[in-house]
């Protein structure tokens, strides 16, 4: 697991209050990991804070799985 991947999974685990072990790259935030709509905005803010990046709101809405988040954030770093 790369450093970025590990940090992303930790942020997701912390924000959604779930175990890192429950996540695969295919895990969808809403359907599989139980993110409520409020948590998904806060998840974006948590990614921004962790990596000191800025995610465009509209683009961020398209990031629906853990794998997509890794791919999307890696491109911004």
């Amino acid at each position: 697991m790369s450093d970025v991947e590990r940090r992303i999974k930790e942020v997701v685990a912390r924000t959604l209050k779930i175990d890192v072990g429950r996540m695969t790259d295919e895990s969808r935030f809403v359907e599989d990991l139980g993110a409520e709509s409020i948590q998904s905005v806060e998840l974006v803010a948590a990614f921004e804070e962790e990596f000191d990046i800025e995610m465009d709101d509209e683009e961020a809405l398209e990031v629906k799985t853990v794998g997509k988040a890794i791919e999307f954030i890696s491109k911004l770093l």
Binding site: S37, I38, V41, E42, A45, E48, E49, D57
Partner: protein, 341 residues
């Protein structure tokens, strides 16, 4: 829209404009990257309607102003990322959601729609009008997380202000229709929230006392069924939670708005039957169909949808909103600000 109809819309908007002018209210417009927003802000300021506050990244707001051909001099433009209120807003945000860190909260409130919501919560602006460049879900989310919901209300809903050119001898008769745009199949509790929020909206927007009718295919038990039961349950909840509100049901539409029919079908005393001006539909099918039929068959003006249920006024524009739509929405949203007296 016919000429007469345009005039009807004009007159009611003029009444609201007169109501809010001189109160020195402010409207925050978080989508300053959109030229329509700059143009609308310019018109709101020039007409003396309210003080517009434009949010956005400086470079994007400037580009939008250039595209709109408008000079930003004299306009309040805030780049949330540089605002000295950011830490205060973040602290307020953390206060409401304690399991979030100050750093993450700061990121949240530096997003324009959330920053705008925090301005309204903090009293730095009176209302927020957003949605020209954001999804409705984003505006609802931002509203819920910043100003929050009104006390006693757990559901964000929407209403239309319908202006009927000719209704039973009256000209330009206004009605509130809800919910025609947000809640697909509300529970009795949600329907009660919709009715209470609509009563509140009507109090600000209608000159007459709000008379809220809970609509159904049944009048006073004339036809049984789960949907009529739901409407009755909702009525019971409203009466318990808002005893001062004139609300009644379940009524068929004619029993609700036509005195002659009400006299026949509603035998007991009712402050609403035959004279309702706020119509609460049992679900989104009924509400949405009713507003569109009224709009086209009665040549009515449908103004909205507007969101309701928040602790302070937050409006959602459609993405296709014109400059004039943005100004009109701002005026109606500002009319919802309670007067100091």
């Amino acid at each position: 829209m016919t000429k007469e109809n345009a005039a009807a819309k004009q007159s009611i908007i003029e009444i609201f404009t007169d109501k809010i002018k001189g109160r020195n209210l402010s409207v925050v417009l978080p989508e300053g990257r959109d030229p329509r927003i700059i143009e609308a802000a310019h018109q709101i300021k020039e007409a003396g309607i309210a003080v517009p506050i434009i949010l956005g990244k400086s470079e994007q707001v400037e580009a939008a102003a250039q595209e709109a051909g408008i000079d930003l001099a004299g306009m309040t433009v805030i780049d949330p990322r540089d605002s000295d209120r950011l830490d205060d807003y973040a602290a307020m945000y953390v206060g409401d959601r304690e399991d979030i860190s100050q750093g993450v909260a700061r990121r949240m409130v530096s997003k324009a729609v959330f920053f705008g919501g925090m301005m309204v919560k903090a009293g730095d602006a009176d209302v927020m009008v957003a949605g020209a460049a954001s999804a409705t879900a984003t505006v609802i989310q931002a509203g819920s997380l910043t100003v929050g919901l009104a006390s006693g209300i757990d559901t964000v809903s929407s209403y239309f202000l319908m202006i009927i050119p000719e209704f039973q001898g009256e000209t330009d008769k206004p009605f509130i229709y809800a919910d025609c745009a947000v809640n697909i199949d509300p529970t009795a509790e949600q329907l009660a929230d919709i009715a209470m929020a609509s009563g509140q909206s009507a109090k600000c927007l209608l000159t007459d006392t709000p008379r809220v009718a809970m609509l159904s295919y049944s009048t006073r038990g004339s036809a049984a069924g789960p949907s009529a039961e739901k409407v009755l349950d909702a009525l019971r909840i409203v009466r318990e939670k808002a005893p001062q509100l004139a609300v009644d049901g379940e009524f068929q539409a004619d029993s609700a708005i036509i005195a002659r029919v009400a006299a026949k079908k509603v035998k007991d005393e009712s402050a609403v039957a035959g004279q309702a001006n706020v119509l609460i539909f049992p679900d989104l099918d009924a509400g949405n169909i009713a507003y569109k039929l009224t709009q086209y068959m009665a040549n009515a003006k449908a103004i909205g949808p507007f969101l309701q249920g928040f602790a302070k006024p937050i409006a959602d524009l459609s993405r296709g909103a014109s400059v004039s739509d943005i100004v009109t929405t701002s005026i109606i949203t500002l009319a919802l600000v309670p007067s100091a007296d």
